[in-house]
């Protein structure tokens, strides 16, 4: 395998990236840029590509500037970062549960955040919008804590139990959320329905700041997470004999995963299957160590969510389809294919 090496300080700091991984990362970067420009340009009010580009640097007409930078730029930035966070969360969850089918939106974390926000809307209609994010965060964390309490965060069969418990809790939370929707005013309920479907429609610069904060935290989490992730891949016994505190590492990774998912959900609502597909696509693009894998996962997740938002608002315009619905409709069949595929490889 071709490897790119970077080193400095007498090779005390060294970075080795397989060429294919580097190429994939570069391609994803280009895709993110392309999506950014396309999102600025396409929509109900068309803005030319060159105009969009110049708006980015503050040198466009007033109208283009308004449409592109005030409405569309925060929206696409939010979509990119929220998607990236979800994919990172999924990668950490899959790595710590050793189950390639784990996804924060499948095990109830996203639904917990959703229920918390809906409860806030219905039970305390006077609460300011700013409470939404912390409520969602708390809801997601509460669900993760519940799963951990129930499964005992142990190794072995606990991974299956973790997933099953999560799926069950997700079903429970969905039922509660649907029922709560019947208590609100119809207009509020309809708006909440849109948020529950995972939408970046109303994203502004506040949301961008929140996402940027969470992304910064994600980087801080991802760097120390790489090594235990690599060790856990070898199985619990071997990881322990290599000197890793397996149970601690697993719990820490789970909490990190939930935190990132909750941050994402608190901004854009529950966007499903990005946390699943991001890491998988990353693995297809390049077999790599956990560090590069996390970076690739982030990029794929960002692309997926931004593309879903773009498709959702332009495909049937003026009707805007929330990004989360697009990812669910595309993601669920992919999930089924992954289940079938992983069975094939096991059987082979």
């Amino acid at each position: 395998m071709t490897v790119l090496r970077f080193s400095c300080l007498d090779r005390r700091v060294a970075l080795e990236i397989p060429a294919r991984g580097a190429a994939a990362l570069a391609a994803l970067g280009a895709a993110i840029l392309a999506l950014l420009l396309a999102s600025l340009s396409f929509g109900s009010a068309a803005v030319g590509l060159t105009e969009a580009l110049s708006a980015l640097f503050g040198a466009a007409s007033e109208r283009a500037d308004l449409v592109a930078t005030e409405f569309r730029l925060p929206r696409v930035l939010t979509a990119l970062m929220a998607g990236g966070l979800l994919a990172l969360s999924g990668a950490l969850l899959q790595g710590s549960t050793l189950n390639p089918l784990a996804d924060p939106a499948l095990v109830g974390v996203s639904q917990g955040a959703g229920l918390a926000v809906i409860s806030l809307t219905v039970l305390l209609p006077a609460a300011p919008d700013a409470w939404r994010a912390p409520a969602a965060f708390g809801g997601g964390l509460a669900v993760a804590a519940a799963i951990l309490l129930i499964t005992g965060a142990r190794a072995g069969g606990a991974q299956t139990r973790f997933l099953l418990t999560g799926v069950g809790l997700a079903a429970f939370l969905t039922a509660m959320t649907t029922a709560l929707l019947t208590y609100g005013q119809i207009s509020e309920a309809h708006e909440a329905l849109g948020w529950l479907a995972g939408s970046v429609r109303s994203a502004g610069w506040d949301e961008v700041r929140l996402c940027a904060l969470a992304t910064g935290a994600a980087v801080l989490v991802a760097i120390p997470a790489a090594r235990p992730l690599a060790a856990l891949r070898l199985g619990d016994d071997l990881a322990a004999s290599l000197g890793h505190r397996v149970a601690h590492a697993r719990t820490a990774l789970l909490i990190a995963s939930v935190g990132l998912a909750a941050a994402s959900v608190s901004v854009v609502g529950p966007v499903t299957f990005v946390g699943l597909l991001g890491p998988h696509a990353a693995r297809r693009l390049a077999r790599s160590g956990p560090g590069l894998h996390l970076a690739l996962s982030w990029s794929v997740g960002a692309c997926l969510t931004a593309a879903a938002d773009l498709a959702g608002r332009t495909a049937f315009g003026p009707v805007q389809i929330p990004a989360g619905l697009v990812t669910a409709l595309v993601g669920a069949p992919c999930f089924a294919l992954l289940m079938i595929g992983s069975h094939r490889t096991e059987a082979a």
């Binding site: 089918l101 939106a105 499948l106 129930i150 069969g157 299956t160 139990r161 997933l163 099953l164 418990t165 799926v167 069950g168 809790l169 997700a170 079903a171 429970f172 969905t174 039922a175 509660m176 649907t178 029922a179 709560l180 929707l181 019947t182 119809i186 309920a189 309809h190 329905l193 849109g194 529950l196 479907a197 499903t272 299957f273 009707v319 389809i321 929330p322 989360g324 619905l325 669910a328 409709l329 993601g331 669920a332 069949p333 999930f335 089924a336 289940m339 079938i340 992983s342 069975h343 096991e346 059987a347």
Partner: protein, 327 residues
Amino acid sequence: MSVRALIPPAALGLLLLSALVWHLGTGAHSVPPGAVVTALLGGGDSYDAAVIAEIRLPRALGAMLAGAALSAAGALMQGATRNPLAEPGLFGLLAGAALAVVAGQSVFGLTAPPLLPVLAAVGALAGALMVWGVTAAAGGGTGMLTPVLAGAAVTAFLAALTTLLNLIDERSFEDLRVWLSGSLAGLRLPVVTLVAPWALAGLAAALVLAPKLTVLSLGDEAAHALGVAVGRIRALTLIAVVVLTASAVALAGPLAFVGLTVPHAARLIFGTGYARLVPASIALGAVYLLAADTAGRTVIAPAEVSTGILTALVGAPVFVLLLRVRA
């Protein structure tokens, strides 16, 4: 038959009757149990009798039928798949039925009540076949996890389509949002009489299939050797489950976890043989939804707690307990 063998059915019957009387007596205008019985027998205060016969009895009948149907469906599914977590909600049938009804109303304008169970049946069948197809292709027919994950994926997909339709058509969402959460509120006699034949046919089929399911629980090869046509029994069970689910959805909307809660409760009391388990689940299911509906109307009266919230609140701990014991 010995006297001891008669005790469980007698106890269940008594339980069902008291739940019914409690349900009928509860409400804004409360009626004491004695008056309820008199009214049921065709006598007593004419106002009481009118309230009970015209408003409360349809709802009570609907609750009994929906609870019995969902519980029987859950028991049948657990027997046919040998998966203790099998139930219409987790295995994609409820999501399919809900989507079919919403799509029928908002896309095709099919609002005629007689179409309701038919639409729900088509949707439930489609959901079940999708989950079954993914599970079979993923080679996980025997494990507990694969079908549940397949059910979650299919449910996510179908629920996304339902949400999409609701977002596009706000009026249909307004009409259906209470129903979509699983609720018996506003159930009228015509709907009940329309759905009752479906539900009763499904329940009869469940009782006939029950002994075969006990044999099936020994494994396909053993069941085969004992003279059970395994494939045919599975297919018939699927049809019965779809009919039962559809009638429950037509009456009360997609109620989660009932098909899980009731059969497992019945298993604790009546053991694992399906010949006893299925009838017990039917009776307990009727009692369960009657009680849930009565409680939902009393807790925060005059407002109602949606039946779906109550069944989810009870069902989730049952699910968790099951995992602790079984997985």
